[in-house]
Amino acid sequence: MRRALLALAIGGGCGGQEAPPPPSPVPPLFHFTEETVPTVVWCGRKEKPHLLESGGSGLALFDYDGDSDLDLYVVNGWRLDGDKVVEKGRNALWRNRGDGTFEDVTDSAGVGDDGWGCGVAVGDVDGDGDPDLFVTNFGRDVLYVNRGDGTFARAPDPPGIDGWSAGAVFLDADGDGDEDLFVGAYIDCTLDEVLHAKPTLDWHGAKVMLGPFGLTGKRNAYFENAGGGRFVEATGKAGLTDVGAYFSFGVMALDLDGDLDLDLYVANDSNPNYLYRNEGKGRFKEVGLWSGAALDAGGAAQAGMGVGAGDVDGDGDPDLLVTNFEKDATTLYRNDGRCLFADVSEASGVKAPTYAPLSWGTALEDFDLDGDLDIFIANGHIYPQADALPDAGTSYAQANLLLANRGDGRFTDASRDAGPGLSVVRSSRGVAAGDLDNDGDIDLVVSNVDATPTILVNGTVRRGRWLLVDAPGARKVTVEAGGRRWTRHEVRGGSFCSASDPRFHFGLGKVDAIDRVTVTWPDGSEQAIRDAAPDRIVRVARNP
């Protein structure tokens, strides 16, 4: 029997069963419809007595078969009942057929790991030009090496952490041309502790899961690619020792200080975030505290969950976004250059709409193609008990958020009239963003706890033209058109335990032509493309 098919009405606005939206004085800024991926993502018991059952899992959008469209990898956890494991959810790979349908190719590709999955990283570990997969688990992590024929080989001795590892990212940290691996870890616990956990923390008169305080943090780890499929643990040598054993979740690699090597940013729950500045040749220095990107404007550590980055104010450098726990707003750090950041959450309008929900994965993308980056944030509480506690003033399932950039780096909550896709209310976690249908706008996939993931198909009225630059290995791409200039940066990992479309996407606003596209490679060399036209996908291979 043919595997399940997922029909996607691409850009078609398939909200036929939805009630018409109420009249609005201004036209809605965005419109997303909802589709689902028929893979139920499990995470423990309904009552969630242990913190492990709160985390959910991530997703990856990547082109595993080289057919120029994005395929989807869904990480899955386990379902528990009482002190028993009743189902080991399998990860799933959904191949994009390119015609608006996805098919489940998990078995033929050989990537259906049934460990308790948390996150996923995409990278080319063997340098053969196709993307490989690294899956973080509660337990042994897994490395799937892409054979290039639609199948993967499971590495017999993968790098990783045996325990609860969360976000992970591949990056060429030492500039030797191959991809190294950083793995964030959260809590040190055993399956026995998880299976026998009882809710012990008082919360609005109910007992809920304990943590993270009261549980022991697990240390992050870094693995240097030694070639030939071999990774060597080199955390201390690289200056990445997790001295505080902080509770790490989202991790991301990008060039934050403009020197073209990849720095690392780690969101820590209830502890200062780490900003590891790459000093070159694989040595990092933790500069989070004095750089201004570790704490909020009040000097307090927040409960970091997910991370995102992008040039929200159009000044050419990437700004940082960190999602946090409820009543602890999402923080937008403006990049002021020289690796210095300022918390502008309040002034930018990000703080108010993000204060109440508990936030996880995120994406900074130009969803309406008007030439600036908007923000999507996935929300969901960790305590199911919230639904029975009116005093808590919250709920386990929460609506996601879409913040529209007004064009100057200030944001307005535009979630309300953004179509049926933004009306979905679940307990969401991982988010991956990308142009699923290659139509020029950015779609989203959201992982939900104990439910199927949601695909948010972007059917927003276009406020401009677009360009999608597929330049594997490029550090950044700059586009000049209509007297404006946009820079998009290579961002690896990020969101919550997820990996998004690696291509560089530009909304251009109302332009007639593109003057110049400049691709910058890690060694600083630049490659100009002068004949690029709007509304196209441009593929750029590095000049020999």
Partner: protein
């Protein structure tokens, strides 16, 4: 129940069987433990002040060398009552239920686990560190460092 626990329980029962007051040896032992706890708390404050003093001196030394990044870093580490390794120790103490300034935490004066640096002082020192890091002239740096020094001196004297 282990055999040693049984013996201890029997001994305690024997001690209290005829007495109308807590046994003197138990009171004395507890008194000694209290002395140790209080001494440890004072020692905790002492080591944190030493850490802070170290960062202040490191900032001053870096300023003399013209290493502006190290100045800003040490000002921020002062604000944070030490680096992330110290933060890890603080986390461990909190996980074990130890709050040096429990009352001050309840009143919002101290962050959980902080010993010397108040919430307000932390904000001021971090703001000064950021201002120092972003400064482009010596005058701006001098102003930022003086703001830091004033807060630091008060904390170290307290």
């Amino acid at each position: 129940m282990k055999r040693s626990h049984v013996f201890a329980a029997l001994a305690a029962m024997a001690l209290f069987a005829f007495a109308q007051e807590t046994s003197r040896p138990a009171v004395e032992t507890y008194g000694s433990i209290a002395d140790s706890i209080l001494a440890t708390k004072a020692a905790e404050k002492g080591i944190v002040k030493t850490i802070l003093d170290g960062h202040k001196h490191a900032a001053e030394g870096a300023m003399r060398r013209g290493d502006h990044e190290a100045v800003a870093a040490n000002m921020a580490l002062f604000a944070n009552e030490g680096d992330n390794a110290v933060g890890g120790i603080r986390k461990r103490l909190l996980e074990g239920g130890h709050h040096h300034n429990a009352d001050g935490e309840a009143k919002g004066i101290y962050e959980p686990g902080y010993v010397v640096v108040t919430v307000e002082a932390k904000k001021q020192c971090l703001a000064a560190a950021m201002a120092y890091g972003k400064a482009t002239t010596d005058a701006e740096r001098k102003k930022a460092f003086e703001e830091f020094e004033a807060v630091a001196a008060k904390l170290l004297a307290g």
